[in-house]
Symmetry: C2
Subunit: 316 residues, 2 copies
């Protein structure tokens, strides 16, 4: 599949950081940065932007805050090969006076993650970053659980906003191909002229397949992570996506080498991927939170009891 | 997705046996049999039928031969709940005089696996089993590598044969959704009135997604295995497929319980699933043989060297 508009955004450190509280060493992040730049990836999302006045840094790695100096240090001496840098922001976790103009920042893009219900706040936050000169996106989380009427209302508001790119985010890893198709077509209808993005989760081993499905129907901004790292079942594996995209600007080899050198060991220390409790939450369109709690407990392999816990009494 | 014609065939023991030389205990096979019957699965493929005169049984478990008495023993006292039993045969590995009539056999179905080039032999073999009263299928392996002209010729011959069900088999785990779509439509065009089956491999995490894709386009006979067990990257995970199919005859819980009780331990002893060398052979549409050899060697994690080994000199 070749379409010149297609851009790939790697969120290995940002989404992977959700598993280990962003406890990645500078060397590790640099190794990822170098490999992604060599592979021709368009954007690397290094972490979250947040104010230390609002979130205590205790126990959290530096990629949770993405201070300019920390990021410059890791980029030092690296040929970025045109790769842009991105950070994600949460609503209510940045201070207006801490935002510096884009031309003074190491970052090119800021992405705002939002549930449908918070879309007004997201639009306001995007405006601030847009006015400071950043590229922006809004990532609408958990669309599998959004009511059509609410989602359509949000999309109408986004159509009027500054944001050029809006993401379909399958937070629960619950969407099947026909639903992805439906979502991408809906976004296109309500957001003429804007780019559609896809961020898929792998609870049902569908993150990569759903990313392909969204490409077929017109999505041009694709999230992926190295070896599929990410919270719970993880994300669309970058190595598979590069194998699919036929654009000659992409190279697969640096990612394979990175997995060999860094990710095999990492996977022995922290857990992500296809594991039955995540499959269960995906099938049931539930947030993976309960599955993560199970995997952190002594009952981690008690799948049947976990499955039964969803067969609760009816709420009427 | 509900369509009453859809049948699910579990080949956990048959395809899983390719990793451990069918070294499953009677208790293990019985546990699988009981869980599948409870789950409402239509067919369980217990192993291969083969003549001990042709294949030496040394080092191979009994499920490589599927003697009637062995199978009867494991079925003893189990309520099959309407589940039929299946065995696979390889061309040239059964003796005509060893085939007993279906009404005297514990098996209901025999499946013949064949490359396109061997289709005449497959048709002849199917005829023998058909004449003995068995249900039959022909599973055309490695369709991703078959030339269209050869595949179409084979399908024309199959249209004239006794076989009621013909499978699309993605042996290399190389097919993308649009190619699955193309294959299923081609089979339907050339095989009017016959059932189309799908047997997908998981090298690119697409086995389940491609199974769904084939269902959407009309496939009604679906192969899957518990926890996706199978040679190399394995197969379409049964638990995910049951989560997708809305037919009330299927139950997910017995499969979840089976995974908890048997498959977590098994996975610690034998390897299958998404592993980079299998992803590489899938992306390149190569047989996974080389990846299996790598994983059996001391260089099992040398992914980059393995990737480079395919960048060989041009053959002109």
């Amino acid at each position: 599949m070749f379409r010149k508009e297609i851009k790939v955004l790697d969120c290995t450190i940002r989404d992977g950081g959700l598993i280990n509280k962003w406890d990645f060493s500078d060397d590790f992040v640099k190794a990822v940065l170098v490999a992604l730049a060599k592979s021709g990836i368009d954007y690397m999302e290094i972490g979250y932007k947040a104010s230390r006045k609002i979130i205590s840094p205790d126990g959290l790695g530096k990629w949770r805050f993405c201070d300019e100096d920390d990021i410059r240090k890791v980029c030092e001496g690296v040929d970025l090969n045109g790769m842009k840098l991105s950070a994600m922001v949460d609503i209510g976790r940045v201070e207006a006076d801490e935002i510096i103009p884009a031309d003074k920042s190491v970052f090119d893009m800021v992405r705002v993650a939002s549930y449908v219900k918070d879309i007004d706040k997201a639009i306001e936050l995007v405006k601030r970053f847009h006015d400071h000169g950043y590229e922006t996106t809004i990532n609408i989380m958990a669309v599998s659980r959004a009511l059509s009427v609410d989602l359509e209302e949000a999309l109408k508001q986004l159509a009027e906003s500054e944001v050029p790119t809006v993401y379909v985010v399958d937070s629960n890893g619950a969407l099947y191909s026909e639903q992805i198709d439906y979502m991408v077509k809906k976004y296109q209808k309500y957001l003429p002229g804007k780019t559609i993005g896809i961020h898929a989760h792998n609870n049902q081993q569908l993150a990569y397949a759903n990313t392909i499905e969204s490409i077929i129907h017109g999505a041009n901004m694709l999230d992926a992570t190295v070896y599929g790292i990410g919270r719970g079942a993880g994300n669309c594996p970058l190595e598979l996506l590069l194998g699919f995209l036929k654009n000659p600007k992409f190279r697969l080899r640096p990612v394979i080498e990175l997995i060999e050198k860094e990710f095999i060991r990492l996977r022995e220390k922290i857990e992500w991927g296809y594991i039955i409790p995540y499959a269960i939450t995906g099938i049931l369109d539930e947030h993976p939170r309960s599955a993560m709690e199970l995997r952190d407990s002594a009952q981690k392999d008690e799948f049947t009891k976990f499955f039964d816990s969803f067969q609760t009494e009816l709420i009427i």
